[in-house]
């Protein structure tokens, strides 16, 4: 493997990691606070991508389309949390089954509306070009996604560690009953965090659509990667999601290059190894 191809694989891995991080961070925030394993998160991603693509075709504005994808899915998340999940608060298994049901409905409706052929989101003109550094030529768009991942990761980190709402969320992760007893409406915090996670999923769907294409089944495929990221990093941990994303992104990129028929399966081994060493992931805490 020459140095150029090595650099390409590393870039592929890191840019995919950024996408995974954007998706996994929303999933892990919701899990950490509410103990909800939202299996509709992949469907949120896919439907967000399709909505973004539709807006892009109508308006031609990539940034507007990305933000509307996020906003639409945040609204969807608001409905799902208020109307459905709130009725099952604290019942772990029914909550999971409900999100699976939601995922099936959304995935099937997406198939009905947008069809079964893979669709790619066209990359915006100013990002369609390639960057060349030394011998390595690489699509600018993927580099931008990497940047977006880092910026949003930093923003969530600041939101969680440096603001009042972040302090409330962190307190809620530890003991939501006490937070409620202190006079804070924890239900609104739950709704906010769930919508925020959904927003991230929708936005990631749009970026992912310009990166990996949108097709029926992409929802559960990307969800598996996000799950492995969260399991490796430790469910509920934001730094865990970051480390897990980089690990899974790089392993996947090299796995695809070295053993294409085992794609998907190559991320399994590190997950197994980490679980034997730390059953709740690298940064996970016991429930």
């Amino acid at each position: 493997m020459s140095l150029t191809t090595l650099a390409l694989h590393v870039l592929n891995g890191l840019t995919f990691a950024a996408l995974l991080f954007l998706l996994a961070s929303g999933f892990t925030l919701v899990f950490g606070l509410m103990r909800i394993m939202n299996l509709a998160h992949g469907a949120f991603y896919l439907v967000g991508g399709y909505i973004g693509l539709t807006v892009l075709v109508a308006t031609g504005n990539f940034v507007l389309a990305t933000l509307s994808a996020g906003a639409a899915i945040a609204l969807l998340g608001l409905g799902a949390e208020r109307v459905l999940l709130r009725r099952l608060r604290g019942q772990v298994l029914p909550e999971v089954l409900l999100t699976i049901g939601l995922a099936f409905v959304l995935g099937d409706l997406a198939l009905a509306i947008w069809g079964g052929d893979p669709q790619s989101v066209p990359r915006p003109g100013f990002l369609g070009a390639s960057l060349t550094i030394a011998d390595v030529t690489y699509p600018a768009f993927r580099i931008v996604v990497l940047g977006v991942g880092i910026v949003i990761g930093g923003a969530i980190w600041y939101l969680q560690e440096g603001t009042r709402i972040g302090a409330i969320v962190r307190a809620g992760v530890d003991d939501s009953e006490t937070v409620e007893a202190l006079g804070i409406d924890i239900k609104r915090v739950f709704t906010f965090v769930f919508c925020f996670g959904a927003f991230l999923a929708g936005l990631t769907g749009m970026l992912g659509g310009a990166f990996l294409a949108l097709y029926p089944g992409a929802d559960f495929e990307i969800l598996t990667y996000a799950l492995v990221v969260v399991i490796i990093g430790g469910p509920g941990s934001l730094p865990g999601a970051a480390v897990g994303s980089v690990a899974v992104g790089l392993i996947d990129a090299f796995g695809k290059a070295l053993a294409p028929e085992l794609t998907y399966f190559t991320v399994f081994l590190p997950m197994a190894l980490i679980l034997t060493w730390r059953p709740h992931g690298l940064f996970g805490r016991l429930a």
Binding site: V96, I100, F104, A112, T224, I231, P260, A272, T276, P279
Partner: protein, 320 residues
Amino acid sequence: MSGARARVGWVLVALVAAFALAVPYLTSSFYTALVTQLLFFGLLAMSVGLLGGYTGLMPMGYAAIMGIGAYALGYLITRAHAPMGIAIAGAIAIALVVTLAFGLMAIRTSGIFFSMITLAQGMLVWGAAYRWYQVTGAENGLRGIERPFFAVRYYEYYYLVLAVVAASALVLWLIVRSPFGLSLQGIRESESRMRTLGYDVGLHKLIAFEVSGFFAAVSGLLFGWYNNFISPASVGLPSSAEAVFMVILGGAGTLLGPVLGAAVVVFAKNFLSLYLSRWPTIMGLIFILAVLFARDGLVGTGRRVAIAAGGRGNKTTAVE
């Protein structure tokens, strides 16, 4: 169990057994095929129920264990041209080894963490089925999984499935009533208390995982022979979720519940999909409605109704 209740229970078991034996004579090949499906999905659901209902560890990837049984059988028959006996033993052995590896990964966790890890395991098996072309045939799957020579026709095959599932149900019934089964329920109620009492909780969980895996693999063999075919679509998350749904819908913590749940799902799928084209949407809506409105499952609801009516819940006594 009081004498009178036990008698009613045995009469019910005898009636169900007589009906089960008569199915191919009473109904068409279509309905016999449906009952065949109900039986092997019921076995899968019971194996999920042993872990999820009795031990309190809900596996979200068990269609993958079933799938490994079916894929291993298919590979040994269609690619390796192994004799039937060796194919059966080999398929079970492969499934048990994979289950052991999965179990070792998952048993150190509990609750939702356990579900999350088994979910990821299931999806990765799906990924392997989809991409490992040399072994699994990828999207085309494995075709031509022959049935044993004595059970080729549909009614012969029905009796084979009935015999295997009945024997498995009996073994599972003995297991859940045994001291081991009671320890599993103890782990469900309080893992830390069982540990304090000196039980090796990890070992109990691992054995439960392995026993469940065995029966899931057996249901996989029955599934593979039934369709003569296995493909990635059968081992994915939707199938695993359906198995969990059967347990929840029927009633977790019972053996009858998962079978009833399997019956509802199999019949709903086959009839609703005749009239409605969007089956995943329908199934998703059924999931959502069922968890919102029927939380303790059919058996639990039946028991509540029976208690409310002043009855003694005879229906559920016999099989627990």
